[in-house]
Symmetry: C2
């Protein structure tokens, strides 16, 4: 059932890519909730982080829980009795959209590393094409979370007039060196796994080790030390949960990371991960402002925005949300800046539903 | 020349280990600066972080720069015209002390994973034995940096009356889950490298990849995002510094990490790294206080202490230094707590010489 709720939008062919090259016969997967109004003025688009699919919430066709289930639905913060909500799977992600694991129509073989270089601007352009294809000229609100927040900035900048209001969630106007270092190391763990084999892996020889290390490093940076002090402290695993390896897992926090890695390793295409990760490093709104973040943001013309960040986020620190808020304000938008103290770090938007519901729900209600 | 300055202290044989087993014919390497007074009351011992050797500073025999060169010498913060300074290489480290790469006299082969389980209490006991062997009953001051700060707490607790004053630098009373997660992932990167081969590597088949990832992850957590924003920003490598790999290094921060890794990978024995890393995770002063950190610290009887930490340290957060300061104070010591805002993170003690000199030099002058 899981995949049935997906719809697909065929991108214009050829679909030109920012850094050169083009895709032929490409598509993006998306899901929707609620009804588009006759005036087509109640559309809310969600752009996602690196790994989630378009299945942000359950719906009639796919009743399984979505990755933002608690936020989307009738009466919830993103109220589907008022809004027509769309979530588009990023171009380059393997959750239904064309990606390095897709068949290249020119060869009949998977693209793998022959997939053209991917930028978040391409993710934005593909999402914009899908929205236009649904007959929506202007979004009532564009919501971008984490990597999706960077894609959202690209979307608004590249498509003037396409967005009325914006909610920026735990994101950044450019990748900073700490985040680049983390992502570079994640990519290196995958690339140095002999089973990655320059992208030519298969189910028998698959870079499980590299993907596992990459995922664990991701989870470490998505959460916060403060949360873990309360949650795991120095709790040991039970004897029967431990193996004989002299350096095997002993603490609950190690087992927690292992669980995250095991759930992820075979469910995300490694090459697609590399492409999206690199795209995140490349993103820099200052490219559009002659090297200046405020000047880049000044080119974004919207009416209102809410910018949300968390003090415990080490991957996208709060100062970066403040830069976005200041920049959009200077560009003429009415901006609300929400600095939260949620202990969960970068992932707070997925966990601290109470505070994010209050902020996002309140903003949408006032639109 | 580099190794000539080392002296060696033969540990009592057998040397019992905290978690079971014993070492035969074991020794620790150490270096000294300055002169021991007739009353033997001017000794300052330095216990190190995970990777440094006993060569903390240059001396007549080895004029090469030491890892704390700017801090140790005549007229410097740790003034060798007044103090007799000793730095002991940790038991289990491959910089001259007996470690998993050493020959097991029982077999004539390297210990590798047959080395007994290592705890920081063993590191402390070995250092204490060396100090006693030098005829020093009581240290004027015990300085512990990073992992060495934890070893120092063990030293003072296990050897009552052996220390008058203590300087605690960027350390913790116990390993917290964030630090455990980082170190566990470093160990896993090494263990999952096929060349690690359950500890049976050699120069031809050596776990370079695992060690490189472990070191890079270390460096990421030893510094701070704030420092890197100023230092690297989004500066790109020159074209000639880049390779053809589609996911090769592009940003200066990536090249910086690569340089650190290359300098480390073949200069630290991987098995010794695993042992010392695990010992750091195990350390918990609360073990000596029926589960309570303050109760554990209360068993440490010293006259004075200075506890220094840095607000940008993500590996040993400032709150942990505050715990040490509060605990030693409750135990009856006169404690100075120094909270610095150095941007360099955990490594600040190696870099922000101005502030560390002022604090440490001031404290030692007042003794």
């Amino acid at each position: 059932m899981t995949h049935d709720a997906r719809r697909y939008f065929d991108l214009p062919s050829p679909f030109p890519m920012k850094r050169g090259g083009e895709l032929h016969g490409a598509r993006v997967a998306y899901e929707t909730w609620g009804e588009l109004s006759k005036a087509r003025d109640n559309a809310v688009l969600i752009l996602t982080g690196l790994s989630p699919s378009a299945h942000a919430a359950s719906n009639d066709i796919d009743p399984s829980q979505g990755w933002w289930e608690a936020m989307i639905g009738p009466g919830k913060a993103i109220d589907t009795s008022r809004w027509f909500v769309i979530c588009v799977n990023s171009l380059g992600s393997d959750k239904g959209s064309t990606c390095p694991a897709s068949i290249d129509p020119a060869t009949g073989q998977p693209y793998r590393l022959s997939f053209p270089e991917l930028a978040l601007e391409d993710v934005a352009n593909a999402a914009h094409a899908a929205i236009s294809g649904l007959g929506i000229e202007q979004l009532a609100c564009l919501i971008g979370c984490s990597m999706g927040g960077m894609s959202a900035l690209a979307y608004m900048l590249l498509h003037p007039g396409s967005v009325r209001a914006h909610i920026s969630v735990d994101t950044a106007p450019q990748a900073q060196p700490f985040a680049i270092a983390i992502r570079s190391l994640q990519r290196e763990a995958i690339r140095l796994d002999p089973h990655w084999n320059n992208g030519q892996y298969d189910d028998q020889r698959y870079p499980d080790t590299g993907m596992s290390i990459a995922r664990k490093l991701g989870v470490i940076t998505y959460r916060s030390a403060m949360e873990w002090n309360g949650r795991f402290a120095r709790i040991r695993l039970e004897a029967e949960q431990r193996d004989d390896n002299p350096f095997g897992f002993e603490f609950e926090v190690e087992s927690y990371l292992q669980g995250h890695a095991q759930r992820f390793v075979r469910t995300f295409d490694p090459n697609s991960y590399l492409y999206l990760s690199r795209a995140s490093d490349w993103f820099d709104i200052a490219e559009y402002g002659e090297g200046s973040i405020p000047e880049g943001l000044k080119r974004i013309q919207i009416e209102r925005a809410m910018v949300i960040g968390v003090s415990t986020d080490i991957l996208f620190p709060l100062e970066q949300q403040e830069q976005i808020a200041e920049g959009l304000k200077a560009a003429g938008a009415a901006v609300e800046f929400v600095a939260l103290d949620s202990p969960q770090g970068h992932d707070a938007f997925l966990v601290d539903i109470e505070n994010y519901s209050r902020a996002i729900g309140g903003f949408l209600t006032r639109l």
